[in-house]
Symmetry: C2
Subunit: 201 residues, 2 copies
Amino acid sequence: MANDPKVTSVEPLPASEAKWIEFQKISWTDQTGKPRIWESASRKTRGKSGVDAVAISTIIRHPSRPPSTIIILQYRPPVAAVCVEFPAGLVDEKESCEDASLRELHEETGYRGKMKFISPTIVSDPGMSTANMQLATIEVELKEGDPVPEQALDDGEFIERVVVPIEELYERLMQYSEEGKLVDARLFHYAAGLHMAKTVL
Amino acid sequence: MANDPKVTSVEPLPASEAKWIEFQKISWTDQTGKPRIWESASRKTRGKSGVDAVAISTIIRHPSRPPSTIIILQYRPPVAAVCVEFPAGLVDEKESCEDASLRELHEETGYRGKMKFISPTIVSDPGMSTANMQLATIEVELKEGDPVPEQALDDGEFIERVVVPIEELYERLMQYSEEGKLVDARLFHYAAGLHMAKTVL
């Protein structure tokens, strides 16, 4: 990366100026019939799929290397740090979540693969926002000597990709954390599940 | 549950009325030195720990039952549905994340356990919000015949707890999804990691 990205100022954002997100005042009645209010944030970009975003758990299979996955590193202004995440992105207006997953994996990592499974719609932080997503599992089959493909990033996108043996994912995330990078909670939970399987089951 | 909770209306929330969340306009410079703007949502409740929330991955050990975990079901107004999540909650103003985890596990499930591990700070949805959290792993040792403990819920909290063998977590979440409940993305990723360990490694 040429320069280190950095946050220069943080100001309150009036609702009328917000282009990408909005606030909602939700009136609801609870289990006793009592009327209550909940405050929530929402993305304005949700399209026909009804799903805001996708993330991709890749399985790279290679004749002489252990099954691996791909994680990405990118600077995230809301947390003012480099974050470690699964490849991911917003679903376009008329796109299916499957197509968005295959597209985002290709753009962010260069790899093309086969959709093995896509999760039901899951919710990213349901106490605070309406944000939802689907998690795709995409398999990439490599042959001995296949070259590392080129990323297809948009102008202004700076994303580093890292191929990690699935067996080593948890340790690798702990290491990134120690270096001051911030691991995405969903990716961390995935690795914690892998680690749990290894240590408890 | 006595009545089914439900959302009755959703309106735009002016920033000046919001008590729990706020919007931020973040000015930052990218890798080429170009000044840019990012919009983000933020909780107003973050205390001294610097961490908004904790979630708990419980391991229940019992002499004659398989290692199990606890998940909770509760209605979440932002997504107008019953969500399936790890026990979780906000960290109080002067509380440590360890104390918050032990407290929330007890309140939401009735169980008391021993802190085995707490994750580094991880970020819940870093493209959209500043929200962060830590994931605690708490071990609960049960003896044969131990009674099921009482929850210690606040007035107005309606939380159902379910003990699930860790081996069956992934299938159980898929089943809840089919029934129309919404699984939290972090819990789903955890189960997907468990499932990946079983099917790929």
